[in-house]
């Protein structure tokens, strides 16, 4: 009879452990999959993480209940708070850090985008200005004529950028081609600029865009977005 009662006691422990595990797995999995799925894992693991922490708190309350000595309760509560606190801090830190790195990637991409334009557009125009002032008779040819000489077929609305390969999607558009005024504009198609409502040259909104204006007096740069 005594043997039988011991066996039942073991089975109760087993059942309790299995019950806790099953409850935990269901709770965490349900919150994980019920969270609306986005392009990020963070919302799902954050809500599931909160559910798992609540589960852990309930487990600790169950494990540390009387008749366990108060000192154990105190020790484990303190350790649990420190461990969960540190874990949560690293968790949040990692979330913030990865988003910072992604923002940084796009800032680097914007620096590259501006850098390409700033290094490519001015020489095109300054070359025309150099020719303009090297003429024997000043004004024999207008800025626009000299520019067309350098870029045959260029008219307002044409792209004068020579692609370096299929990957090269850069465009340098001639916005204005007047005898004494040439305006070049270049934009990114997927890199955001400073103002998200800015209307881009190609009809997009919010993309990075740089403009250079050439007159007889020299070059003017307008960082439009």
């Amino acid at each position: 009879m005594e043997k039988e009662s011991i066996t039942i006691e073991i089975k109760q422990e087993v059942s309790i452990t299995l019950l806790w595990i099953a409850a935990g797995v269901i709770l965490v999995s349900a919150t994980f999959f019920l969270t609306p799925q986005t392009t990020e894992l963070w919302p799902a693991i954050n809500t599931a993480g909160i559910a798992a922490t609540l589960y852990f708190a309930a487990l600790m309350a169950y494990v540390l209940r009387k008749p366990l000595a108060a000192k154990w309760r105190m020790i484990f509560v303190v350790i649990s708070i420190v461990v969960i606190g540190c874990g949560a801090y690293r968790w949040m830190g990692m979330q913030e850090e990865t988003h910072w790195q992604v923002d940084l990637l796009m800032k680097i991409r914007a620096v590259i985008g501006r850098g390409i334009r700033i290094s490519e557009m001015p020489p095109i125009l300054l070359k025309a200005l150099d020719l303009y002032y090297r003429q024997d008779t000043k004004g024999a040819k207008t800025l626009a004529e000299l520019f067309k000489q350098l870029h045959p077929g260029a008219t307002a609305g044409t792209n004068i950028h020579k692609a370096e390969g299929e990957w090269d999607k850069t465009t340098v558009m001639v916005e204005t081609l007047e005898p004494d005024r040439i305006v070049l504009v270049s934009q990114e198609t997927f890199v955001p600029g400073r103002d998200s409502s800015f209307k881009n040259y190609n009809g997009q909104t919010g993309m990075l865009q740089e403009k250079f204006i050439l007159t007889e007096k020299g070059l003017t740069h307008v960082s439009e977005n």
């Binding site: 039988e4 073991i10 935990g24 894992l41 599931a48 979330q95």
Partner: protein, 257 residues
């Protein structure tokens, strides 16, 4: 009546159930790349196969999306492999291990029978010890992870701030290069140097910016520009501009090296 087990620890069925569950979870974590093979080809960031911390997987996915955005591609929805890995890590770390360890620990602390403290190494004792070791490892690792994670994060930000400042100065020097070339081209009556850099003076707005103070030294057909950082004292950039407006002989000092 049930047959009594030799050990008053876990019942054999329970032990096998737990081991089976653990093996399934580990198998999912280990072989999820084979289960979701089609997703692997698009992986730009490879996280370790076994990850106990779900934030590592979520972070890896965020960075992967950032790299896609960098090259103009739309962000990917979270694939099944990453979902399974993150969920498995959460369940193992916050449910499975603590439940087995703490419930067993409570029984051990309250046990009246001397046999439960036996020193013999049964399978259940090995399994329990493994769970305990992992719980202790995760607990002990959490503090240095929080502290060193922060230190690394701050160092990264500092390094990036220096790099950004250097990039900004290079950008301003590029503009100065064009301004100098324009001065070189323009005739004297148009405010230029008539094919000479002599007489060039930086506009006030350009000689001191938020990033640096600039000193230009014209020397006939070339010009030297020295930029002294404002944000990082004793850090500087120097460059030479030739008569074609080309910038060359870049040198860096201080934190900009």
């Amino acid at each position: 009546m049930f047959p009594k087990t030799d050990s008053p620890e876990f019942a054999p069925n329970f032990l096998w159930q737990i081991i089976l569950l653990t093996v399934i979870v580990l198998a999912l974590v280990l072989f999820s790349d084979k289960l979701f093979k089609s997703d692997l080809s698009s992986m730009a960031v490879e996280t370790p196969r076994i990850v106990l911390f779900p934030w590592v997987i979520a972070g890896g996915h965020t960075i992967e999306n950032g790299l896609l955005a960098f090259s103009g591609k739309p962000a990917d929805v979270v694939n099944g492999k990453d979902q399974v890995r993150a969920l498995a890590a959460l369940i193992v770390v916050l449910v499975l291990l603590p439940t087995i360890f703490f419930l067993r620990w409570r029984r051990w602390k309250l046990a009246a029978e001397p046999s439960i403290h036996a020193t013999s190494w049964s399978l259940s004792r090995v399994f329990y010890s493994l769970c305990g070791a992992l719980v202790i490892y995760i607990s002990v690792a959490s503090l240095p992870m929080a502290v060193f994670g922060d230190v690394i994060h701050n160092r990264l930000r500092e390094a990036q701030a220096v790099q950004s400042s250097r990039d900004e100065i290079i950008n301003e020097l590029n503009f100065m290069g064009f301004d100098l070339f324009q001065y070189y081209i323009l005739p004297k009556e148009a405010g230029g140097g008539n094919h000479c850099f002599d007489g060039y003076a930086l506009p006030d707005s350009a000689s001191k910016t938020a990033e640096a103070t600039y000193v230009v030294t014209p020397n006939g057909q070339t010009v030297g520009i020295h930029a002294e950082s404002i944000r990082y004292p004793f850090s500087w950039v120097e460059v030479k501009v030739d008569s074609l407006g080309r910038l060359g002989s870049w040198t860096y000092g201080g934190k900009f090296i």
